[in-house]
């Protein structure tokens, strides 16, 4: 579908692309990726002749693009940019029908196509047709940007960091949508990004570039399992290692909302508090908040049956293991696992109670390490 045959490009003495050869097959989702200045955007813009190569030929659909009128060529190729570029003076409908209008489609056909496209991404045409881009969220705007590029069903779509400016959740949604559109419509997409996660998620083939050369062109699985050289390994690794839990501290993973009672607290009151909070042991501190020990609910019941108790201080609490809040999280986990504790009390250097590490904290932190989420938010 898209072939780069020995393409070179220089701006003055500055060589941007060197003897680039590429073969992107029909129906492929090809992602160009690399550090900034690697020539990925330049390569993309040469396909629809927004930039002309210094040497070599580019074939689109077996046709030498330099022999096609650039304006005609561009109308046949969809184009989506990071800044979205919806025309602010036009409504959503007018934006989507730009290319159909350029190609002289009759009004009815254009209207119908706009409605069809909006429905395809779950946007109600009645609601959105007459709105202006400034009235839409960034995600909706880029959705329309994609529809605008698809208006005349081009077999090839060029996307230049289309989701780079969107928030992470919207980005994920639009990635899913574009992947689905590409599969459903069977179109070829050339996609530029600097986000390796995005590339791995979307690509059939990842083309990793550096200094105007292709370092490795391979399907994502192969790129990850068999990186060609240190640069590739470093490029993948640096971006994919999102969380390093060896360096996390107890204070970052603990639950700080901990229920404690002082020794002077009334017995009956403590019992009712325990019921309310649904906890099964009391964490007892002295009046300064220093840790004294814990009283499990069974012990409370046992003692309460034998004699009259006025304050918590009259019961001897059990000493249990604590951990300093600046200790390594791994240490807390090891302690919990080895001593088979339900939880671990976190204290500061003055032995004041600051939080709890539970098995839930452990699971969350592990999940975070695996999927890259924040483990410390409740």
């Amino acid at each position: 579908m898209v072939v780069f045959d020995n393409i070179s490009k220089s701006f003055g003495n500055n060589v941007v692309i060197q003897n680039l050869n590429l073969n992107i097959k029909r129906g492929q989702f090809a992602v160009l990726i690399g550090p900034s200045g690697c020539g990925k955007t330049t390569s993309l813009r040469m396909i629809n002749r927004l930039i002309e190569p210094t040497e070599g030929t580019i074939l689109v659909d077996e046709q030498d693009v330099s022999k096609v009128n650039p304006v005609d060529l561009r109308r046949r190729i969809g184009y989506v940019i990071q800044q979205i570029g919806l025309f602010p003076n036009m409504t959503i409908e007018q934006n989507i029908e730009v290319v159909p209008k350029l190609l002289g489609w009759p009004k009815e056909k254009r209207r119908e196509r706009v409605r069809e496209l909006l429905e395809m991404v779950g946007m109600n045409p009645l609601q959105y047709c007459n709105r202006y881009p400034s009235e839409l969220s960034g995600g909706q705007q880029q959705r329309v940007g994609v529809l605008r590029a698809l208006a005349v069903s081009p077999p090839l779509l060029l996307m230049d960091e289309p989701f780079g400016a969107l928030d992470p959740i919207t980005r994920e949604t639009l990635q899913d949508e574009i992947k689905k559109l590409q599969t459903d419509l069977g179109i070829t997409i050339v996609f530029v990004t600097h986000d390796i996660d995005e590339a791995v998620k979307l690509a059939d083939i990842i083309i990793l570039m550096k200094d105007g050369k292709v370092i490795q062109a391979a399907p994502p699985e192969e790129l990850l399992s068999n990186p060609a050289g240190d640069f590739v390994r470093e490029f993948i690794g640096k971006k994919r290692l999102r969380a390093n839990y060896d360096v996390d501290l107890v204070r970052e993973i603990m639950n700080a909302k901990v229920f404690t009672v002082t020794k002077s607290k009334g017995f009956a009151e403590s019992i009712s508090l325990m019921r309310q909070r649904n906890v099964d042991s009391l964490i007892v501190t002295d009046d300064d908040g220093k840790f004294e020990g814990v009283i499990p609910v069974e012990k409370l019941r046992e003692i309460a049956g034998k004699k009259v108790i006025n304050t918590i201080g009259e019961i001897q609490p059990e000493k249990i293991t604590t951990i300093n809040l600046n200790a390594q999280a791994r240490e807390a986990f090891d302690t919990i696992l080895q001593e088979k504790l339900p939880y671990l009390i976190v204290v500061d250097s003055k032995n004041k109670v600051r939080g709890l590490v539970t098995k839930t904290s452990l699971v969350k932190a592990l999940a975070g390490a695996v999927w890259g989420d924040n483990a410390d938010d409740e």
């Binding site: 927004l50 046949r76 570029g85 003076n89």
Partner: protein, 217 residues
Amino acid sequence: MMNDFLATLHSNWDRLVGAFGAHVQIALTAVAFGAMIAVPLGIALTRYPKIGQKVIAVLSILQTIPSMVMFGILLPFTGIGRPTAIIALTLYSILPILRNTYTGISDVSDSYIDAGKGMGMNGRQILFRVELPIALPVIVTGIRISSVYIISWATVATIVGGGGLGDIIFIGVARHNHAMILMGAIPASLLAITTSFIVGRIAKAVTPRGLRRERAR
């Protein structure tokens, strides 16, 4: 004083109406010609930004030539009469419109141009469908600034026999007749204020709805 003024107004009413009409005609013609020259020139200059800045700088210097001097330069070529006044005022009206056209078009975000080009618009389509609609409010504001200038400067047209409200003011000055001076000056001011208001409304009306919102943000 007030009675004096009303009496002068009454006895000179026909003269005032004629002068007012001439004033409007001179100013309007000058601004219209000015816009006809400045808008295309301003657009052309955006295509050559290196020259563009220089041309605007040179024109800014021309703008500072006092009108008396300008009339002096033109008189040998165009003689006494309204054409000389209109030519001089046209020259003065060019710069504000040119500058706003140039700025308005240059300020259209590159992403719109890139999107338009990438979708297969040719240069003319990008100009008329994207650049001009987005820049239009700024261009009309230039015309508004120009109109206000030219209406006030048109009072000087009288010294080359151009007519207009300047005639009445200069008669008043020559005769030490304050009522007469006011009779010329007040309509000229009112005309400038009204025009500024009307053209301001036009600028609002030509702002695409989508842009009004964007600017409001």
